[in-house]
Symmetry: C2
Subunit: 463 residues, 2 copies
Amino acid sequence: MTTVVTSGIDLLATAVEDQAVPVGRVDWRPPMPGTAADLATVATDPLRSEANRRALEAFLGVTARLVDVAPAAEVLGLERGQFLHAGPPITWDRASGPLRGGLMAAAAFEGLVDDPEDAPALFESGSFTLDPCHHHHAVGPMAGVVSPSMWMFVLEDAASGRRTFCSLNEGLGKVLRYGAYDDTVLTRLRWMRDVLGPTLQRAARATAGETDVTGILTQMLQMGDEAHNRNRAGTLMLLRDLSPALATSGVDAADLAEVFRFVGGNDHFFLNLAMPACKLALDAARDIPGSTMVVAMARNGTDFGIQVSGTGDEWFTGPAQVPEGLFLGDYGPDDANPDIGDSAITETAGIGGFAMATAPAIVRLVGGSVPDALAATRRMHEITLGENPRWSIPVLEFQGVPTGIDVTRVCRTGILPQINTGMAGKVAGTGQVGAGLVTPPAEVFPAALARLAELARGRGDHL
Amino acid sequence: MTTVVTSGIDLLATAVEDQAVPVGRVDWRPPMPGTAADLATVATDPLRSEANRRALEAFLGVTARLVDVAPAAEVLGLERGQFLHAGPPITWDRASGPLRGGLMAAAAFEGLVDDPEDAPALFESGSFTLDPCHHHHAVGPMAGVVSPSMWMFVLEDAASGRRTFCSLNEGLGKVLRYGAYDDTVLTRLRWMRDVLGPTLQRAARATAGETDVTGILTQMLQMGDEAHNRNRAGTLMLLRDLSPALATSGVDAADLAEVFRFVGGNDHFFLNLAMPACKLALDAARDIPGSTMVVAMARNGTDFGIQVSGTGDEWFTGPAQVPEGLFLGDYGPDDANPDIGDSAITETAGIGGFAMATAPAIVRLVGGSVPDALAATRRMHEITLGENPRWSIPVLEFQGVPTGIDVTRVCRTGILPQINTGMAGKVAGTGQVGAGLVTPPAEVFPAALARLAELARGRGDHL
C-alpha cells in the first residue's frame, strides 16, 4: 500500500504543477460595503451563537420520507383559479415570460381556458390568485406553478409530523416549468394526472414511510449527483424502492410499463423529491430569534428572495440575475430569462452548487471544469455554519457538505452562494434554453443583516 | 468563474501541504529480475507495436449487449455431472475450500447428491468433470461454479456475433460463490432457477439488444462504481432498463415484486454483467501474434493465471496471494482463502482496481484512503497500452481508464496490476470473510514474457 500512497501525493502535486501557479491562500477579504456597523451589532448579539447552533441542529435532525402522492386540491386545499408559483410573491404584471407561460399552461390544464393564449387576459383582470409555493409548505422547480389538479409528492418528518410538498417532474424539453404551454405539454400533464399520479399514489401508500428521501440523498452524493442539476442515481433509487409495490399495485400492465419508462427516462425525476426534502429540513430551522441562517433562497424569474431564520417570513429581495453557462442548440445569452425557481432550496440545504465537488460530470453541463467543481464546494464552507455528517463527499475525503448559509459570513467575506440552475427562455412558450451557474443579487444579504441588527438592537444593549 | 478557479488551485495545493512532503516523481524503476534479455527480444519484435495497436483497437471496438438469459445446459451445452469453475484449470485434489464448497453446493443443487457433504467422494472418484469457465466463453465470480441448471446472462457483440456468458449473482453473505452450501444457499439457487431466471429471460428477450452493458459501464464510472466491488449504479440501471418489459412480462405480480426486491436489494447484481462484458471485449484481442497484451487474469483459489494475446490459450500461473483488506465480524487474515474468481477480468479490462479513482467510497471497504484510490488508477497507466475513451473518470478530468495490461511494461517497471476483490473463507462452507486488495504473483509476467520472446525468436532474427 505504501507505494500507492506515494503516487497519490505525486498526483496532487502534478495537478498543481500543471496549473503553474504559486501555492497560496487568501485568508482575508473585505466585507460587503456598508455592512460594518450591522456586522458589529449582529456579531455581538448574545442570542446569535446559540440560535445558530439550534438552527443547524434542527436542520440536521430532520429525515424526510415519502408518505403519499396526492392532488394539490386535496393536500394543499387549492381551489379552482388558485395557482402557486416559485420564488417570493409576485403579481402577473411583473411576472417574467416563463412564469407567465407556466401559468397559461396550468390555466388550460385546469380547463379554465380552452386556449392557453386566452389566459393572460384573465390573469390581468385578477380573476385568478397567485401565491408562492413557499407560503404553502411547498416548492416548485423553475416556474414552480402548481394548480389544483396537479399531483404532489408528500414528504414527512416522522419526529415532528411536519410535511412538505412538490409537484411531479415532467422531464426536459418543452415542459410547463420552463414556460412552455403547447399541446405536448398539456397532453403530458393529463397523462401525469390520470396515470402517473394515481400509480405513484398506490406505491407510495403501500410503502408509506419506507422511502427515505434524506437517505437516498446521502447515497446520491456518493454517486455523482449533486441533486439539483443531476439526479440520475436518485431517480434510479426511487424506482428501486417503489418497484416491488408498483409490481403489486394492480395497475394495468401497459400503464405500469409506461410509468417505468417515463420515470426511468427522466434523470431529473428525483429533483422534485430532493427539493421538498431540503425544505422540510430547512423549515425546522425557521423562526429562531437571533439566528442568521438562511432558510430559503427562491426566484420567481423577476426577483430573487431569501428568508432567514431570525427574521421570520420576511423576504429580502433583489433582481434575479441571468445565469452564465451553456446553451442548447442555437440559443444564446439574449434568449435566457433571469434566474427562476425554488430549486435553490437545494443550495440552501448544502447540496446542488454547494456539492459540485461530488458531481464533476455536471460541471461540463454548466460550463465549468473539474477543479472549478472542487473549488466551489470548498468556497461554500467559508460562508456556512457547519457540515452535514449525513451528506458527505467521497473525493473530499468524505467531508460533510457546507451547510447553513450564514448571512454574517456572506456579508463579511463577500462570497455569494453558488447555485447550479437550468435556464428558461425569456419568451413564454420557449422552454429550456440552457444550464449554468448563478448567484443571488448581493444586496439581499446586507438587507437581511440590517433587519437582524435592527431586531438585535430592539432586544437590548447593542451597538 | 475566475475566483472559483483560483480556489481550485488552493484546494489542490493545500492537499499537498497537508501531506507535508516535497513534490517529486519517480520516473525510473528497475525491471523485474532476470527479464532483461527477454525484454530486449520482445521490444525489438517487429510485430509487437502493430499487434498491440490491433489488440487495443479490437478491444475498444466491442459493445456488449444483453440478448438472453437461459440455462447453462442450453447455452453452454453443459451436461449432468459437468461443472465449470473460475480461474485456470484445476483438479479436485488441489482445489481450495471455497471452490470445493461451491462444487458441493452445485452437486446438491443438481440433485447428484442429497447432502452436499456426500459430494467430495464423488469428485475424488472422478465421477464429475471440472473445466474452467474461460474455456467456455464464460466467467464466474469467486468460486465461479456453473452447473447445467444454473441460468446465465448471454451477452453479444453485434458486430462480430461473438457471445459470452455469466451466471446470475446470488447476493452477499452465505452464497455458493463464496463456498457456502447450507440450505439457505440451495433454497436461493432453486428460487433463482424457478423464478428469477425465467422472469429475466422474458425481459431480456423482449428487450433483446436494447440493454447496452458497455454503455451502462460508461455511466457507472461516473456514478461511483468501479464495477468490481461496487456495482450499485449498474444494478439500478439494469433494473431501469428491464422494468418496462418486466411489467408486461405476464409473470405473477408477487413473483415479479420478489424479483424487483431481490435485484434491487443486491448491489452486486450487475457484477455478473460487467464481467462477461469485459470478457467479450478482451476476447476480441486474443490470438494476435506478437501482442503483449494480457487478455485474462483469473484465479481458482489455488493458482493465479494469466493469458496473453500473443501466446494463445496458454496459462501462465503462480500461487494465488491472500488479499490485504478488511474483515467481516470476527474474521481475520488466518480465515481468508487465497485470491479466487474470474472477476479480475474487470481489472484486465481497465476497471475494478484500475478505476479505483472513480470509486472513493469503495476504498474504505478494502481498507484504503481516497488518495490511494486516485493513485492506484494513475499507477495503472504506467503498465497499460492506452486509455479507453468510452470509460472515463470524471475526477481525473475525464481521463480514460488505463486499458490493455502490457506484459513488457509490467516486467520493465515491476508494477503489478491492482485488483479489488472479495475474500472467501478458506474452509468450505464459510462464505465471505472480507474484502481487500491483491496483486497477481509477480512470476506470471516474466513467464509470459519468456514465452513471447521464444515465439519472437522463432519468427526471425531476434536477440
